[in-house]
Amino acid sequence: MTKVVILKEEIIASVVGPTGPEQRRLANKVMEETLRKASLSFPQITYIVSTGYGRINVPFSDRQVTEVTCHARGIVHLFSGARTIIDIGGQDSKGIKIDASGKVVDFVMNDKCAAGSGRFIEVIADTLGIPLDQVGALSLQSSHPVKISNICTIWAQQEVVSSLAEGVPVADLLAGIHYSLADRIVRMVSRLRVEDLVILTGGGAKNKGLIKALSEQLNRSVLVPPNPLITGALGAALIGKEMVEKARKNKTPIETRERVFKEVEIL
């Protein structure tokens, strides 16, 4: 997904759109839509920071900052007491440790295997023919969560299909899948020595079943921002704003790219 946040004192507008194979053109589209929503013209935007996997594919961005730094900035803005951030997206999952001043002090990432990311649940939801936005709630109806023994996404998918054939209720399977993903993520973030407040963000934070599985395994309550998909983009906007404010204070020039939507040729 491609997300845009336009910020002045507070968020003026935000849009979440799909990221297709033609990332560079899509960044244009989502940006145009956000500008429309904010009733702003492109040249009115003072500074643009891009983040995430596609950060190098945003032709009009003035600076690129990693999603680790941006998520942390966005979350600290929303929860000043945040110490541990868990970000579960469709591409990867991350744990970020923050100190009392809001600075990132350590992080861990899984980007090697789909089984440790939100993709794991997407694949299983698809196999069971259940819309992604319903799997979390459905898993909460489970009375006997199934133990999923395969770690690999593809094998877990097969395991779910054969359990289904044996008559295992869908809710129990889904609960098992959520526990399985939560188990891997908790093991990864435990390396950071988890401390309260724990904030869950990214697409995974929209899934109630995952929130429950994570907080049970962490043995702590897990907080979720109101709009977990945009915390990275919000952080990027906040970083951009700070950079501009700093430059103005120090009277140093602000270098920006031209505010035009270019159709970038993709090889």
Partner: protein, 386 residues
């Protein structure tokens, strides 16, 4: 980053890119080239036998193919790449190969090397994995066995006088490497990490006298820059096993950091310790290789009695380098299935914490294909400490 590249650094780049071309030339002139891996092969003995030691390198851009029909994937990817290139005749100019007991992969796969490759000389250096009084006694005998084996193969006696002379040449080489490292101390450094590792890697493909000349020329050329052409950025120490390619270092430097210090095999681990010239040569070599080369494969008894004291003893050299070169962060870069480093990660992590030095732990598979994944982590780390 645009650095002026004079003649010496152009030579370095050519030796690095077309690795082994000088050895091939020398072989054509009738010289004997002996390949080796790891920091634990006493190169002085090979040189004193009249042959030229040549460090076998892997290639992260070359997929491992033929090698995997002979070696299982439990062997670390770096070592598999070295073997794969050897099986594919990349090092056809070698007369033989010497492998030490540097890790599990080296000891377990030695026989595979010896029957999988067409060379006429193979030797396994049985360096102890503990470092006690009896280990030195054993290792001295083991060095004499290696000496006899070389004497037999080359039909030439290795005298103590010759060995002492060669030890001095190798010590000179280590001083020249030190001079290269001195160029890292400025902020921003006068020499980039990419240039330095490329220089050391190029040197490991040359006869020692030629490497010495090359290092002198590089030092002179870089000094002539006067001031650094680089932009200031976070100063990074790289810790890990053999990093015989520049891609990781280049990635750090492309993202605005500078690699200014290291504890890697073809860096400080290999090149800093010198051999004591006041001792009989075999005794001196035994002490240098067994004790002074600080590798996690060597078990050192906990003399401090506490965990904190133990890690301070074992990793003290890293802390000293971090201080000397003013490192602001460290990257611990470990190959998947690397047994010596893999086991050490938690202790090393604790050590960096005790130094208050931020550390990024990366596990990788010795492939150019993973550099994109590493990019986000390294960039986030630089943002964190910057």
């Amino acid at each position: 980053m645009e650095l002026t590249q004079g003649k010496a650094l152009s030579t370095v780049e050519r030796l690095y890119q077309d690795y082994g071309f000088r050895a091939r030339e020398l072989k054509g002139q009738g010289e004997k080239i002996i390949g080796y891996v790891c920091s634990f092969v006493p190169l002085e003995l090979i040189k004193a036998s009249g042959a030229i030691p040549f460090r076998i390198r892997g290639n992260i851009f070359e997929p491992i193919t033929k090698g995997d029909t002979l070696l299982e994937t439990i062997v670390c990817p770096y070592y598999r790449s070295c073997f794969d290139l050897s099986v594919k005749d990349k090092y056809e100019f070698l007369s033989g190969v010497v492998i030490p007991h540097g890790c599990d992969s080296m000891v377990r796969s030695f026989s595979t090397w010896s029957y999988g490759l067409p060379y006429s000389y193979f030797h396994f250096v049985n360096i102890p994995t503990v470092c006690e009084e009896s280990s030195f006694e054993f290792f001295e005998e083991e060095l004499n066995t290696f000496r006899k084996s070389l004497e037999k193969f080359f039909g030439k006696t290795i005298t103590d006088e010759e060995l002492s002379r060669v030890i001095r040449i190798y010590n000179e080489n280590r001083e020249k490497v030190r001079a290269l490292y001195e160029l890292r101390k400025a902020d921003p450094p006068l020499i980039s990490g990419t240039e330095l590792t490329m220089t050391l890697t190029a040197g490991s493909s040359l006869p020692i006298e030629e490497a010495n000349d090359l290092f002198d020329q590089v030092v002179a050329e870089v000094k002539a820059r006067g001031s650094s052409p680089l932009k200031k950025g976070p100063r990074i120490l790289i810790d890990g096993a053999c990093l015989d390619h520049i891609e990781l270092i280049k990635l750090v430097e492309d993202l605005g950091g500078h690699v200014v210090a290291d504890a890697i095999c073809n860096g400080a681990r290999d090149h800093f310790p010198k051999t004591d010239v006041t001792l009989p040569p075999i005794k001196a070599l035994s002490q240098r290789y067994l004790d002074k080369v600080n590798c996690p494969k060597t078990y050192r008894a906990n003399k401090a009695g506490t965990f904190e004291g133990d890690i301070a003893n074992r990793f003290g050299d890293i802390g000293a380098y971090a201080k000397e070169f003013k490192a602001e962060g460290a990257i611990l870069y470990v190959y998947k299935y690397c047994d010596p480093f893999g086991f050490e990660v938690p202790a090393r992590k604790a050590y960096y914490q005790s130094l208050n030095l931020p550390m990024l732990h990366l596990e990788d598979i010795y492939s150019a294909g993973t550099m994109g994944q590493l990019r986000t982590r390294i960039q986030a780390f630089l943002e964190m400490i910057g």
